[in-house]
């Protein structure tokens, strides 16, 4: 994958404010196509042990978080279709099937792109809060996962540095937003854009708080402490 090497902000809490400011706007430099920071020693590589998945730092870490979100969504819809709730209509099945395929593509794309920098594939999920036999439980979680994914991807878009990462994640997020709108309308017609704020904008979410609400769906602990911060 494209290597983006800037200092990780978290590991440099004591860094001077001016440098943090500078890093906040490092995108300006990337946009100008100039290599201004190459500090590989400060990169934190993603790691996985028996207990914890560490997403890593920089764009790699952010893409790993996107990968985690897409793993979660793909695994969810695979399970929904494997153990369909009673009374699933043909239309519902068709919608879930296409959404599942999109999420698999998102997941596999990030897997291939990240290569050896990626977190492990097929992380085991904790579905204990979901009753797959119950339509209401499945729909509620589909709504939740899609909203979390759109807000999370948009938050990642704020932080990534490389243009191709930004564009690809945004292209992915708008399709997750389409999913979210459909799921919302299936639950309560007319709620397709209920989360838009007073500027007609999605409310994006920073990775730290996004991870806090998604990690309970994984058996291993997930940490994003080295990710860039808002």
């Amino acid at each position: 994958m494209k290597e983006v090497t800037t200092q990780d902000q978290t590991t440099h809490e004591s860094a001077s404010l001016s440098r943090r400011k500078f890093l906040n706007y490092a995108g300006v430099i990337a946009g100008a196509g100039l290599l201004i920071a190459s500090c590989k020693k400060d990169d934190v590589q993603p790691t996985a042990d028996d207990d914890t998945i560490n997403l890593g730092s920089n764009d790699t870490g952010l893409l790993n978080y996107a990968y985690l979100l897409q793993q979660l969504e793909a695994a969810f819809y695979i399970q929904v279709l494997k153990t369909p709730y009673s009374g699933m209509t043909k239309t519902e099945e068709g919608i879930f099937t296409q959404i599942r395929d999109h999420e698999i593509i998102h997941r596999e794309l990030l897997k291939n792109y990240l290569g050896t920098d990626g977190i492990p594939p097929a992380l085991e999920n904790d579905w204990s809060s979901i009753d797959f036999s119950l339509k209401s439980s499945v729909m509620a979680k589909a709504k939740f996962f899609e909203e979390v994914s759109v807000a999370g991807l948009n938050g990642i878009c704020r932080l990534v540095i490389a243009e191709e990462h930004l564009v690809t994640l945004a292209k992915m997020s708008v399709v997750d937003a389409r999913h979210s709108a459909v799921i919302n309308d299936m639950i309560t017609p007319g709620t397709f854009a209920e989360k838009a704020d007073d500027n007609g904008m999605e409310v994006s979410q920073d990775p730290q708080s996004s991870i806090d609400i998604t990690k309970k769906f994984f058996k291993k602990n997930i940490t994003g402490i080295y990710l860039p911060k808002y």
Binding site: V167, V175, A177, V182, M201
Partner: protein, 270 residues
């Protein structure tokens, strides 16, 4: 402005300043984002006579003007549709009111930002949604209207993706554009499902170049939407999964280039 000067300016910016709209205005000013007052038809991007020299800063205003081009068109479409008696069934009116509200908020936000940075706010064109009679029933037949509406919505998603790319250098604005892109995507999904409810075999996402488009004027919204290569990786049947061409194209919306945006929008402008 020289790069070193930009870096100096960046050094002087408080990160928290960037979190609010007023702060962004000042930052743009501090980055020297002053754009010549030129009457700009939307989509047009020649804001500077010397583009090369101004490239690092004028792209922000270009992106905003570009995004406004489709937001204006969307707002005009729904304003007219909601005022046309008998066009939108009573059951669907609230949805379109919600969509129009969001569009007008997008416009208000960008107009504020342009004004605050001393840029010219582009004028709102007069629209002919029949595209010079290529779509004679656009504002009288609900099915035709929905077809046009989803084409304009899908174009909105695509143009906002382009705006996101153009706003790369500005974290706050690029996030605003992403957050509007996903709202546009929600609108697009809703409108497409309304059309599906009329018996058209389509989903909330764009498949290929949209076989359900009815005339050339609408098909133009979908040029280059059938891309199946992302990050230089082919997504059809990726890693042996049974994911089709349709799924591969549906899984991503594609940014719409300036030239394609003009090709789509021009027939609808009087």
């Amino acid at each position: 402005m020289k790069l070193t000067d930009i870096l100096k300016e960046i050094e002087s910016i408080q990160p928290e300043t960037f979190e609010n709209a007023t702060g962004r205005r000042n930052i743009l000013k501090s980055l020297g984002m002053k754009v010549a007052a030129v009457a700009v038809p939307f989509g047009a991007v020649s804001l500077f006579s010397n583009k090369a020299a101004a490239k690092t800063t004028d792209i922000l205003a270009e992106a905003i003007v570009f995004a406004l081009g489709i937001s204006y068109m969307q707002s005009a479409l729904y304003t007219k549709a909601l005022a046309t008696t008998g066009l939108i069934p009573a059951t669907d009116v609230d949805g379109f009111k919600e969509i129009l509200k969001d569009k007008n908020q997008h416009i208000a936000f960008w107009v504020y930002q342009l004004t605050a940075t001393g840029n010219t706010v582009p004028g709102v064109p007069t629209y002919d949604f029949t595209a010079k009679n290529a779509l004679p029933k656009a504002m009288t037949d609900y099915g035709t209207f929905l077809t046009l509406a989803h084409a304009i919505e899908d174009t909105g998603v695509r143009m906002y993706l382009t705006a996101v790319k153009m706003l790369l250098s500005n974290k706050a604005f690029r996030t605003d554009a992403v957050n509007m892109a996903t709202t546009n995507a929600r609108h697009a999904a809703h409108v497409r499902m309304l059309r599906r409810n009329l018996g058209v075999d389509m989903m909330a996402w764009v498949v290929g170049t949209e076989a359900n488009s009815i005339v050339g004027e609408i098909k133009k919204a979908y040029q280059n939407e059938d891309n199946t290569t992302q990050l230089k990786i082919n997504t059809v049947g990726i890693n042996g999964f049974a994911v089709s061409f349709s799924a591969a194209t549906g899984a991503f919306d594609e940014p719409m280039a300036d030239t394609d945006a003009k090709i789509f929008m021009t027939p609808f402008i009087d």
